[in-house]
């Protein structure tokens, strides 16, 4: 049917075009939302360092604390005041495999129980498999509380 072929083509284009528009306009926002954790990675905010015992905000030896608003399961931070009163905040996450490290005060070093990684009191990797020092978070003091820069969510 020669005169019907053009109409047929046109209708097939309508069918395929509609399907394409509906799926694309649903899937593209879907992928955008799916990638939200990657797309919003840059945003940073100030987070308060929360201690189980509020007096520990003045401690001159490392105390394990968590960032306000972070999940219970998120790795904590080690915080102390330096000799000049300035805060020192280190991530508790081992740079090797991500286990939480422990502060061994009597040996003046951090120890990772997973693969026996060792960091000194400045967070420098001095033994075992860790390839890098513990991450140091930029910290400031406001009204006696320690705040660090953390990535948003």
């Amino acid at each position: 049917m020669p005169e019907g072929t053009g109409r047929r083509r046109f209708l097939e284009t309508i069918i395929k075009g509609s399907l394409l528009i509906i799926s694309a306009l649903t899937i593209i926002p879907g992928v955008g939302m799916l990638l939200a954790p990657v797309l919003s990675r840059g945003a940073r905010k100030l987070a308060k360092v929360v201690f189980a015992n509020p007096q520990d905000a003045q401690s001159t030896t490392f105390v394990l604390a968590r960032l306000e608003g972070s999940d219970e399961t998120a790795p904590g931070v080690f915080a102390k005041r330096g000799p000049d009163g300035k805060p020192v905040v280190l991530s508790s996450m081992c740079t090797h495999a991500g286990c939480p490290v422990e502060w061994h005060g009597n040996e003046n070093r951090f120890f990772c129980p997973c693969h026996r990684g060792i960091f000194d009191a400045d967070g420098k990797n001095v033994g075992g498999p860790p390839p890098k020092p513990l991450a140091r978070l930029a910290a400031t003091v406001r009204d006696g509380d320690i705040y660090v820069e953390a990535s948003e969510a």
Partner: protein, 466 residues
């Protein structure tokens, strides 16, 4: 004729895609009333939209009373999330309207007769599934509206004869609306219903179409039954193009609503927001609510006739219709009894709908819920207050001095039976503000600096300790 195979025959060899597509798209249709027959495909496209948007939203959603509402707020913060939530919401509403329309069309067009009876049965089940999707999905944001609606729904089932309280417990997962309720409704909405969609609707429809040439069979039958021979046209691409144009039109409306209309979200379901809050009934249950306002259904003893028995009977009759109506006639003029039943049902539904609109919606729900669920709303509010009180208790370090259930300090008295000793709310609040005024010589610090809501929550928690 259909070009799907861009892989040099590999897909065709392994999956028979071209054969399957040709089978599905084969057959011809009666071109009369053709635009009215596009709604089935539009529903399919809306289901597709729900199936894409739902799982993405699910990735950013925690089915827990403390997290759900905040998750929805976060989704609304993301422009993509806002659009997806809007699409998910508005498409679900359109699905109900179009499914009801499709079932009504199939009824009056006698499409449940002959070999397409299975499509009819699947469509009736689909309508039921769509309604369950809507009702369970409505609870997901866990805002004041969601919590009140769930509570009222449970209250309605509580009035069912004999097994009412058991059904209520099944719906709530316990005696009050709480975390377990949300968890099970989420499970129904996101796991059980999608599975039933695949098993009870998608699979039978696909198998039915693969059986081949069914459109031909019923169309030719209809033509011979209705006398003069009508011309037919091929389904693909002629009728399908019509279906897809209708789908893109509906899609444009949905996208417009998602972009420019506010997707409903009320306040967080905290005790303060819930007290005094009256749930308005959603539009898709309005006819049922209207029925419960009319005698004899406004008597709680007869209420289940309108809320459970009536709708249940209607669905059963619809489901079994191909076996109940053995009249071979397809023309409406020769199906007087069926036509009368159909018109009566539609008139009742729309009449009740109009009645509910006239009767002022808020009032309507309040009266419906009074038969047993307003007490439930109060109980739900109390339960939420107790939970908030617990968190105030731990935040304020009350456990440093007091013992509850064996845990805590030894300085203050054991509070395990605090509610039995002082069941009066005001006593508890006054005591917290100024302990010495109620207990002579008390060394407990005053907690007057707490917010009013915190004091109320803490008092409610104390009273709950018995």
């Amino acid at each position: 004729m259909i070009h799907l195979d861009a892989t040099g025959g590999w897909l065709e060899d392994r999956l028979h895609l071209r054969t399957v597509a040709a089978r599905i798209l084969s057959g011809s249709v009666d071109p009369r009333w053709a635009w009215l027959r596009t709604t089935g495909m539009v529903c399919l496209m809306l289901v597709l939209i729900e199936c894409i948007t739902g799982p993405i939203l699910g990735l950013y959603y925690t089915p827990s009373p403390t997290a759900a509402y905040k998750d929805i707020l976060a989704i609304e913060q993301n422009p993509f999330g806002r659009f997806l939530r809007g699409m998910h919401h508005w498409s679900s509403a359109a699905l109900i309207l179009l499914t009801v329309f499709t079932v009504a069309r199939m009824f009056f067009g006698a499409e449940y007769k002959g070999r397409r009876d299975v499509v009819w049965i699947v469509s009736v089940i689909f309508l039921q599934v769509v309604l369950f999707f809507q009702i369970s999905g409505h609870a997901m944001p866990w805002d004041t509206n969601a919590v009140s609606t769930v509570t009222v729904e449970a209250g309605i089932t509580n009035n069912v004869w004999v097994a009412g309280p058991e059904i209520k417990r099944l719906i709530l997962g316990g005696s009050t609306t709480g975390a377990v309720t949300l968890a099970r409704w989420y499970g129904v909405h996101a796991l059980l219903l999608p599975l039933s969609l695949v098993g009870a609707i998608g699979l039978p429809l696909l198998l039915h179409r693969l059986r081949g040439d069914l459109r031909d069979s019923w169309d030719s039958r209809e033509s011979s039954a209705s006398g003069p021979h009508h011309t037919t046209e091929h389904y693909y691409p002629f009728h399908m193009a019509r279906e897809m144009l209708a789908a893109i039109g509906v899609f444009a409306i949905m996208a417009g609503l998602a972009l420019f209309a506010k997707t409903p979200l009320e306040k967080e379901a905290t005790a303060a927001n819930l007290s005094g809050y009256v749930a308005r009934s959603e539009w898709y249950v309005l006819p049922m609510h209207a029925a419960t306002l009319l005698p004899p259904f406004n008597n709680p003893a007869f209420e289940p006739l309108a809320t459970v028995v009536g709708p249940g009977a209607l669905f059963t009759v619809l489901l079994l219709l191909p076996f109940l109506d053995r009249n071979p006639e397809r023309r409406l003029s020769k199906r007087r009894f069926a036509a009368a039943c159909g018109v009566f049902t539609l008139a009742s539904v729309f009449g009740l709908y109009g009645f509910a609109l006239v009767k002022e919606r808020r009032q309507a729900v309040h009266e419906t819920s009074s038969a047993g669920s307003s007490g439930l709303v109060a109980a739900a509010v109390d339960a939420i207050l107790v939970e908030q009180g617990k968190s105030v208790y731990s935040m304020q370090g009350c456990g440093n001095c007091h013992t509850i259930g064996g845990a805590g300090g030894k300085v203050g008295p054991d509070l395990t039976k605090a509610g039995s000793l002082h069941p009066d709310r005001q006593w508890q609040i006054d005591h917290l503000i100024k302990p010495g005024s109620k207990v002579a010589g008390s060394t407990m610090p005053a907690y007057g600096q707490l917010k009013k809501e915190e004091l109320q929550a803490l008092a409610e928690y104390m009273i709950s300790l018995k």
